[in-house]
Amino acid sequence: MIAAVLAILSAVFFPGIILRVKSIASGRKGPGILQPWKNIFLLFRKSSVFGTTTSFIFRLAPAFYLATIICALLILPFPGLPSVLGFSGDFILFAYLLALGKLMFIIAALDTGSSFEGMGANREALYSMLTEPAFFILFGTLAMLSGHLSMQDIFSGFSFSGEFSLIAGAISVYILVQIAMIENSRMPVDDPKTHLELTMVHEVMILDYSGVDLALIQTGTNLKFVLYGGLIANLFLPVNGGWLIPNVILFLLVQAGFAAVIGLMESFRARKKLAKNPQFIVTLSSIALLAFLVVLLLTRNLIR
């Protein structure tokens, strides 16, 4: 529970840090840290325009999207404190809750009857399908390394000491960062700044949303980022044998660092050709497979 609270806390400054880092990297001063949330509050105050082709699905989807992300946040573990809602195998529920949100989102996009949204929907469906194996292989690796199946136990048993843990940890961080970028449709899969048909995956699906619904969706997107940030932060915890305050500070620091890294990656990377995206995403699964095989042989005491 506390991880969820901390994650929401870090969500307050997360998008602001990304924007600020991108601005500084391009030589500008950039907006304030709280600017993205001010935009969202502005949207809450506006009224909506609904398309005439849309049905109740269009109105339900933002609620489902946000609700599934909040539910997934509740599964996030925090070291030292016993997890109230965690259980063995909870990462499976985690992945599938996010998939439910995505499904509702995709059909809401198709609800508008526009070719733009159809484009985004079909790309989003394909890319999220291809990232799932990487996520599961990663958790299979971590489960084998720690010998447990609940997120709480996996992460509390994980530390960066030891050569193989370092390797597995580094690969896990890399894969989680990339999955977070792909799921939120950032570089190199998609460019959030442009609104051309060729680059749109996520941005185009919300083209017809306005007002309160759009605010809900943007809140969800920001929370999704800190969700993955929370997973990455858990890899670095626990520190100093489980005291509360250093863990909290490290958690927030890692989230801020993650935001900065995203900002930097977005500034210095170009978008890939759309047809090359599937192979980029499957590369992640290959690397995860490599990590899995190494950890498998390690746990069977076949490599020193």
């Binding site: 050569e163 193989f164 370092l166 390797i167 090359k276 599937p278 192979q279 980029f280 499957v282 590369t283 699964s285 290959s286 690397i287 497979l289 490599l290 095989l293 190494v294 042989l297 005491n301 076949l302 490599i303 020193r304």
Partner: protein
């Protein structure tokens, strides 16, 4: 440390199967040379000092400096297309290479080697598979050269694993192979520059 370098080597192999630009190809081969240099340096306690120094200098000099330099020179001089054509789309080569990773783990596992050697064996089998796969699935002769270089790297990796048994002759052979291939291609290609298209594509499209 050794294991980390070996795993980075394996990751470079995965990227080698997906990239499409010749410069990155050449860069990755250079990176592999650098990793091999590090690995040979770390084998100090297992092999005699003279052999290690020889292998280290050879790797550093040739694989890290000379070979990439020659490769980049070829790219610049001949103006080969920056994106190479393949007979197989990237997505499938990635799947095949992942299959190769699984196969090399299974083969190496069934060989019952010592724990220390297993990583070396796995990644060198994987590198041989990837090198062969690069040669099979690409059309341009430049890619074939890179595949050949990857196989040479694999052989060197394996010889590092076997450790105290490296004969000098094996090293000489590796050196000669590299020189012959790169220099001949370089000389050949630079002389016959106007006929470059006939050389770089093995088959009519």
């Amino acid at each position: 440390m050794t294991n980390m370098l070996i795993i980075v080597f394996a990751i470079s192999l995965i990227y080698l199967s997906v990239t499409e630009r010749f410069r990155i190809y050449a860069g990755l081969v250079g990176l592999q040379g650098l990793l091999l240099f590090g690995l040979s340096f770390l084998q100090l306690d297992r092999i005699t000092l003279a052999t290690v120094l020889f292998v280290a200098i050879e790797t550093l000099l040739f694989k890290v400096i000379v070979v990439p330099f020659l490769l980049f020179r070829i790219i610049n001089r001949t103006g080969v297309a920056r994106v190479h054509e393949k007979a197989l789309p990237s997505f499938y080569s990635l799947l095949f290479v992942s299959l190769g990773l699984l196969l090399s783990v299974i083969v190496a596992f069934s060989m019952n080697t010592t724990p220390y050697n297993l990583m070396f064996f796995i990644v060198s089998f994987f590198a041989v598979y990837t090198g062969l796969f690069l040669i099979i699935s690409h059309r341009k002769i430049f890619s074939h050269l890179v595949g050949f270089l990857v196989i040479e790297n694999a052989v060197l990796l394996l010889s590092l694993a076997i450790g105290s048994e490296i004969p000098m002759l094996l090293n000489m052979g590796i050196l000669l192979d590299i020189f012959v291939s790169v220099l001949i291609l370089g000389i050949f290609v630079m002389r016959l520059r106007q006929h470059i298209d006939d050389l770089t594509i093995l088959k009519d499209d």
